[in-house]
């Protein structure tokens, strides 16, 4: 970026001709800490991407200072980065870092391992702990469970004790305190005589990172000199541990924080999300609250329906505006009452068939459940597939498809089989130059040779693939891609693959999933597209659907058994219901089936969550269809 190419702040316009509402524009240009309340469809990612563009293109985030964006999920972090890259170009985007809380904390403690005070310095080759490791460490440290208590309740309690407070643990002369400290030691360093390897959980990692920053003013200062702007995504889900880390890193520093969230979508309380986070942040960081009033996603009548939930979600009444692309009467909602799940499967699959006949793409329809996709939608998936309407449980694919190695394999297939796929070509050439450490501007001769090499490889690869007759042969072909790039080269470019068998496991998964797709369609291009989910209906839980949107959403099983803990956590379940409802752009369907085999019992009820039914029925928007007497 040449110095004179920067745009003057007052002349800056939202990139790519987008229009931002006033509050959003204010947030984009703000020089103070802000809390942006962004309801569903408000364009949260776009807002953050535009803000990054503003800061970088006008040099308000003064070169070479950087922007740090922290999200919860890997794909959210990646999506945001890709959006920024698209909006302001690769060069400026180099100063934009988008990562998850986990990656942020882990990177700090790995790199600055030696700056962690000795007593809490983890073994360098630790693994990531799961709850059973933690339980095991507690028992090795002397913890004895009381008989009769449920295991997962004990585990939760132990884990809470482990990470409740900031480090170091205050020493007390009590048995519990002793056990706690010994457990930390065991987990941090392992114990060879007990045959226990060092393992730490991400929550422990965040605690360690906070301790590390607190004890090392120079690291803290250099971090504050590096990041002059920080974005916090999905802020309503921030846990106490994460908030402690943020405060230690950035409180009272010359760092401008933009937090974006929506208390109506707070469905992570069970995972320690702080209920008071908005209030705390506003007072700790003296942050200004900005409310977005646009809903770019949903049709007007669906937005009306969402608003009916506001009062029970403690949201003040807001005039939500919808996108001008809709007509006022757009948007529809249905409540289907079935006598059993068999009837449900028939009717819903017919509904979907009709939608597809009207031209709705499969990937634009979503089947949502509260939890247990196979219990609630298993039959429906089978039925749809038998009708030629592909659908699948997306849980396994969501993270898989975001893996760097998987993207390489998929793009190689596109290059070999799709006609002139420019995106895939650019992706592969960029990745190859990155891996081989070529500079695409100065080493043109090398790049040229690389292109020739790639073309030769693709010809070979196609030849090899055309004779593939089994999953194992497919795996061999994929290993051919790996060899072409170089195993060591891939691993050193993407360090996440250096440890353990993760990299090889992904190859195995790739071979298995792709072979399955290929067996169905007998055509590689189609198989890869199907693997990417371009031609299927995703089935997922509400929690996995956060941040996504679909033309039509079918919520299967609006029943007490699905909301089994409603009495104890009404707020969180209301938020979940709100999230489900607000995924839909044009149409949303809810189903209730009197008979459905679930883990509790077959007979389903809806008295516990009757407030949802009252809301839907009194809305004058939802059309209720009762099939149970038919």
């Amino acid at each position: 970026m040449k110095i004179n190419d920067y745009i003057k702040p007052n002349l800056w316009k939202p990139v790519d001709g987008l229009k931002l509402e006033d509050a959003a524009l204010h947030a984009v240009k703000s020089k103070e800490n802000t809390l942006v309340i962004a309801g569903p469809g408000a364009g949260k990612t776009e807002l953050l991407a535009q803000r990054a563009c503003f800061l970088l293109q006008t040099n308000t985030c003064c070169n070479p200072k950087r922007i740090l964006a922290v999200s919860f999920k890997k794909d959210a972090a990646r999506n945001l980065f890709e959006r920024v890259e698209k909006r302001c170009g690769k060069e400026l985007a180099q100063r934009f870092e988008s990562m998850t809380y986990d990656a942020f904390a882990k990177e700090l403690i790995d790199r600055f391992n030696r700056a962690i005070p000795q007593a809490y310095r983890p073994h360098r080759d630790y693994d990531i702990a799961n709850i059973n490791d933690i339980r095991c460490a507690f028992e090795l440290a002397g913890f004895k469970p009381e008989p009769g208590q449920r295991n997962n309740i004990i585990n939760d309690r132990l884990n809470n004790a482990l990470i409740r407070n900031k480090l170091p643990i205050v020493e007390k002369d009590s048995l519990a305190n002793n056990i706690l400290r010994n457990t930390w030691q065991l987990l941090l360093n392992g114990n060879s005589s007990l045959d226990f390897k060092a393992v730490i959980s991400f929550q422990m990692i965040s605690r360690l990172a906070e301790y590390l920053i607190r004890e090392n003013p120079l690291i803290k200062k250099s971090m504050q000199m590096t990041y002059s702007y920080v974005f916090l995504d999905e802020f309503q889900d921030t846990t106490d541990i994460q908030y402690d880390l943020i405060k230690t890193c950035f409180l009272n520093a010359e760092v401008v924080i933009t937090a974006v969230g929506d208390s109506k979508q707070r469905i992570m309380l069970w995972a320690r999300a702080m209920e008071s986070i908005f209030v705390d942040y506003k007072s700790d960081f003296n942050a200004k609250e900005l409310k977005l009033v646009m809903n770019h996603r949903s049709a007007p009548r669906l937005v009306e329906l969402q608003k009916l939930l506001y009062s029970s979600l403690n949201e003040s009444d807001l005039t939500i505006q919808t996108s001008p692309k809709w007509k006022p009467e757009d948007g529809s909602a249905y409540l289907h009452i079935f006598k059993d799940h068999i009837q449900e499967t028939d009717v819903i699959s017919t509904e979907i068939q009709n939608l597809v006949n009207l031209g709705v793409k499969l990937s634009d329809i979503c089947i949502l459940v509260k939890q247990l996709p196979d219990t609630y939608a298993g039959d429906l998936i089978i039925k749809l597939n038998s009708l030629g309407l592909k659908s699948r449980n997306e849980c396994i694919y969501q993270d898989f498809l975001k893996e760097e190695s998987i993207k390489i394999y998929i793009n190689i297939f596109y290059l070999a089989y799709a006609n002139r796929n420019a995106d895939a070509w650019v992706y592969i050439m960029d990745t190859l130059s990155l891996i081989r450490d070529f500079d695409s501007e100065t080493e043109i001769d090398k790049i040229y040779l690389l292109q020739k090499e790639l073309e030769r490889f693709l010809t070979e690869f196609k030849k090899q693939i055309s004779s593939v007759n089994s999953k194992d042969e497919l795996r061999t072909a994929i290993c051919g891609i790996v060899n072409f790039f170089g195993v060591d080269a891939i691993k050193s470019t993407f360090p996440q693959y250096k440890r353990g068998s993760y990299f090889d496991d992904l190859i195995e998964d790739m071979a298995q999933y792709l072979w399955k797709e290929y067996e169905e369609v007998n055509e590689w291009l189609k198989a890869v597209e199907n693997l990417e989910g371009l031609n299927s209906i995703p089935v997922m839980t509400i929690h996995k659907s956060k941040g996504l949107e679909y033309d039509t959403v079918f919520f299967i099983g609006l029943e007490d058994a699905a909301f089994w803990n409603f009495r104890n956590q009404p707020d969180e379940d209301r938020c979940a219901f709100f999230v489900a409802l607000s995924r839909a752009k044009r149409r949303v369907d809810f189903t209730f089936s009197r008979i459905r085999p679930t883990r509790f019992n077959e007979r389903q009820s809806n008295l516990g969550i009757k407030e949802f039914y009252e809301l839907l029925r009194n809305s004058n928007i939802v059309q209720e269809i009762d099939y149970s007497s038919r």
Binding site: K8, P64, R111, N113, I116, P217, L218, S222, M225, T226
Partner: protein, 427 residues
Amino acid sequence: MRLSKLKVRNFRCFGPEETTIEFDKLTAFIGCNSSGKTAFIHALLKIFGETAFDHSLQRSDFHVPKGKAPEEISENNLHIEAVFTFPELEKGDNSYSIPIFFKSFVVDDVGLPLYLRIRLEASWKKSSSPDGSIESKVYYITASEEEDIRDEDKKPASRHDLSHIKTIYVPAIRNPAEQLRNVSGTILSRVLNGINWSDDTKESLKDKIREVDAVFDQETGVDMLKKAVKNQWKNYHSDYRYTDATMKFNSTDLDTILKKVEVKFSPTETTRDYNVEELGDGLRSLFYLSLVNSLLDIENSIMKESEEKKEGDRLSFNITPPVLTIVAVEEPENHISPQLNDIKATLKSEGGDGSTYSEKQKALMVWYNYFFLNRGKPSTHRLALSLINMDEINKSLPKPLKRIVNAIEDALKDDPYSAVGEINEDK
């Protein structure tokens, strides 16, 4: 940001035992022929040189152990590692380098200063081609120097990041004419291409060129020649394309004009100006150093300008200087007399400490003799007499030089920050 250490292993004359040399703001290598002084400079260039040519490794860069014939070796590995420290962090100064490299900082213990490790690793293997195949990669090492380096501690460093650190190498044989050509990689092109040409300038240049052309046209001879060329061409060529053959007597645009930029020296013994090739050896060498200094000066001004820039101000240059420039000067013994002054000149004319953006650091190399430091504050420099085998030097040194070297040595023993400048005056 400062270069604090350079470590080499299996690079040229340095064997499999890793050799470490520490750097200060100003550092001198004194040593016998072939003791590896130039090799150190080249080690730096392999990572921080300006052009792809600087970075490229040859088979001859890989160490061949004493008593072994090159043919006996079928594969070999080398590494070069540079360690940087960030004194500005402790001082609380603003820093341009920290944001760029923060993601790769490491630390040795609780509360200690942070540092950066950049390491080139290369391997050579026998192959069908006579030079064998060489693979090399530059990494950030994200482990403390006190720990082993695991695979996951190596993070690839992009060329873009590395371009923030530059080494300017002033070789013993200095041909400024090469640096004065406006081709990629030379000092002149670096500056010229960075100038922020205004549209007005470009427009008025075009006008002036047209005026000059008109002057030419007034000459009837020129006019006749032009017409003849034009008309004859028509007899030979009938396609619509390229029909018009017009003779131009001067450059038509900025780029062509820039290609012809040169430095002229006057007055001279004769009536015409001299160009740089016409200067004597000594002067040429001096001019080279002054050219390097011009570049450093300009980089400082660029930063000052953009720091003080108010909204709407036009900047004179369009480039971002490196955050650290390492100047490596090679002083061969046969340069003695004029160079005494030019070393001083180089050191003196450094743009001061006015700008924190672009730190300059100097590695000074003297071939088998002595050198002098005489800068404003001698206490800020330490003389690093690394790699010297004093006995060997003493054996072969002429007497007066022996005295000086001993004096330097003694002074350093008592007080590494002593004023070396005084010794200089003694001579």
